[in-house]
């Protein structure tokens, strides 16, 4: 019996573990190792160079620009997204006028809003980025044409081509496509909060704003926190990469004068365009450090006593 059990365990774990080790764990460990070498990625030869790549990082202006942009992205995008999503979710669940004797209800049509808001979430980020690239087109894109239509002929920014606006335009797209997910996520959390809490607060004369900050937010805090980390990881990694790489196709990748370049894009450029695989992995390690630091900060900020209900 016991023999059979271990054979079964080994048999079931072998496949997944092999695949996971070869394609995830092993490349990940290799990446850290390569960051101490001068590997180009083009030839099999390389030498161990110690911390030289890391020293180079400190003097690399483009790295610091990417770093700043990534930090800006990881701070602002989740903040705006989550604030908007909390507001919408609160309206959809608690913001309605009282009817049918219920103390709190959502606004009318809340189910409809939840379905619509979620649309961008099911679309590929590549499609979203392409769509907005057209919309942002300065000459004949939808946004500037819309501005002209309402009489703002003088306001015709070159959204993605102007270093002052490019990064903000990209961030707006990230917010646009993730708010819906959080609205639905927070709605699910809010609907599990017992209604008597609201009834009691409303009887005591609390306003909606007060009930939001005193009841909803504290009880939702765990969800907000895990959503925050999830969003931050996206804004540092894959999503930011796709949006920046597709929308801002400057000569160097990353917009005019590196105004939108972010860490994952810089890794990609160094590895697959410049043939500096080892240096690219060094930037990747820096990205990992930023990601872990971000997660640690959010966890630390979010430490509160757990509320049970």
């Amino acid at each position: 019996m016991h023999h059979g059990k271990y054979r079964f365990i080994a048999g079931f774990l072998a496949g997944p573990l092999a695949l996971y080790t070869v394609f995830v764990i092993w490349p990940f460990l290799q990446a850290v190792y390569y960051s101490f070498t001068d590997w180009t990625g083009l030839s099999p030869d390389f030498a161990f160079t110690g911390l030289r790549n890391y020293e180079r990082l400190l003097d690399d202006e483009v790295f610091w620009k990417s770093f700043q942009h990534s930090v800006l992205l990881v701070v602002l995008v989740p903040l705006v997204t989550i604030a908007l999503a909390l507001f919408f979710a609160f309206m959809l669940n608690v913001g309605g006028r009282r009817r049918r004797g219920a103390a709190v209800t959502g606004v009318r049509g809340s189910a409809f809003y939840k379905i619509v808001y979620f649309f961008p979430q099911v679309l590929s980020i590549a499609i979203v980025a392409l769509l907005f690239q057209f919309a942002y087109n300065p000459g004949n894109g939808a946004i500037n044409a819309g501005l002209r239509a309402v009489g703002l002929d003088s306001v015709q920014p070159d959204w993605l081509g102007d270093p002052d606006y490019a990064l903000w335009s990209v961030m707006a797209v990230l917010v646009w496509c993730t708010v819906g997910f959080f609205v639905v996520l927070f709605s699910a959390g809010m609907s599990s909060i017992p209604l008597d809490f609201y009834e009691a607060a409303l009887l005591d004369g609390a306003s909606r704003v007060t009930t939001f900050f005193r009841i909803t937010l504290p009880l939702l805090w765990d969800t907000v926190q895990s959503g925050w980390i999830y969003m931050g990881i996206l804004a540092l990694g894959a999503e930011a990469f796709a949006v920046v790489q597709i929308m801002t196709v400057g000569a160097n990748g990353g917009g005019p004068d590196y105004s939108t370049t972010v860490l994952p894009l810089y890794v990609y450029v160094k590895a697959f365009r410049d043939g500096q695989a080892a240096y690219a992995t060094t930037i990747g390690v820096a990205l990992l450090v930023v990601t872990l630091a971000f997660a640690a900060v959010v966890m630390r900020l979010g430490r509160r006593e757990r509320l049970e209900y």
Partner: protein, 315 residues
């Protein structure tokens, strides 16, 4: 739409609800006969404001999508001269051109093959690993569990450079099965995390009964446990489907053969080359073509999709 209590989409002109004194006649007063105990000014301005914001955001979400659909029926000339007006006469040949000449049909087929293979593999391997980790005590269990779920937190781009050479050495670069294996591997962390928790919640008695009746462990798993786990499998399956269907970064790096591009990659490729050829209308048709199937699937299965996507984040 199988939602109850959903009024028809609010028309944009319904935005300012300032002056509206009451909800359309309250059909029944509530059980207690309590009709809006406090009707303060605060409540009303807040209502107008919040409705306005809600409608505005719905508008902002839907507009770009409608705009894309509209644009896909225009001529190139119209796209540039009148971005916001309706097409003078709908150009259906844009769609035909995108499907055939612009290789959208090939990109679709590649995507279906890759996602079909990787989704099957992910669900099978993920549930096997999760089942073992959730239900059996053995040395190293905790370690393996954390090894798997640790993958959720690190940036994929860091592993991508060495991964490129791993695939190259295994002769898997630029092949669809190479992409399938990679998708499976990168979907395992969340799948294992989610399904381990799910298998722990299933009752043990049924599996024990099957074992006593002489079923092997493997048979118990496939014939008893997997069917019982169906709700969890559907949730995580939808999550993986959307993630893999929409994947962009992995194929961009690991699959550069023009013949084998997947949808998201193919569209970006089209956009870049279209810059020279100038077939913008065809490109928009392609974009919409890629958008519609997932949107349609979402509208039909929206309950399951939402449950699947939010289940992971909500404990």
């Amino acid at each position: 739409m199988e939602t109850t209590d959903t009024p028809p989409p609010p028309a944009p002109d319904a935005v300012p609800r300032h002056g509206v004194p009451e909800e359309p006649p309250v059909r029944k007063t509530g059980p207690g006969g309590r009709r809006r105990p406090r009707r303060s000014g605060e409540g009303r301005t807040l209502n107008a404001f919040s409705h306005g914001m809600l409608v505005l955001w719905a508008f902002m979400v839907v507009m770009p999508l409608l705009w894309a659909v509209m644009t896909s029926f225009k001529t190139d000339r119209e796209i540039f001269t009148a971005p916001w007006s309706l097409p003078a006469s709908p150009q259906f040949e844009n769609w035909a051109r995108a499907w055939g000449q612009a290789h959208m049909s090939d990109y679709f087929l590649n995507t279906v093959l890759v996602v079909g293979g990787s989704l099957t593999g992910t669900m099978l391997l993920g549930s096997m690993a999760a089942y073992v980790l959730a239900r059996f005590e053995f040395p190293g269990n905790r370690f393996l569990y954390f090894l798997f779920i640790g993958g959720m937190s690190f940036p994929v781009i860091l592993a991508l450079v060495p991964l490129f050479y791993v695939l190259n050495n295994l002769a898997l670069l630029n092949t669809l099965h190479g992409l399938i294996l990679t998708y499976i591997a990168y979907s395992l962390p969340f799948t294992v995390f989610f399904l381990t928790a799910f298998f722990r919640t299933l009752p043990t008695t049924v599996a024990e009964a099957a074992l006593i009746d002489g079923a092997s462990h493997a048979r118990t798993f496939f014939q008893v446990m997997l069917p019982m786990a169906r709700p969890g499998l559907i949730s995580v399956g939808i999550f993986n489907f959307l993630g893999q269907w929409n994947q962009y970064m992995l194929p961009t790096v690991l699959n550069t053969d023009p013949e084998r591009k997947v949808l998201s990659q193919g569209l970006v490729q089209l956009a870049v080359s279209q810059g020279y050829k100038g077939d913008w209308s065809g490109l928009f048709a392609g974009l919409v073509m890629a958008m519609l199937p997932v949107l349609a699937a979402y509208i039909v299965f929206q309950r399951q999709v939402v449950a699947g996507l939010t289940a992971g984040a909500l404990k």
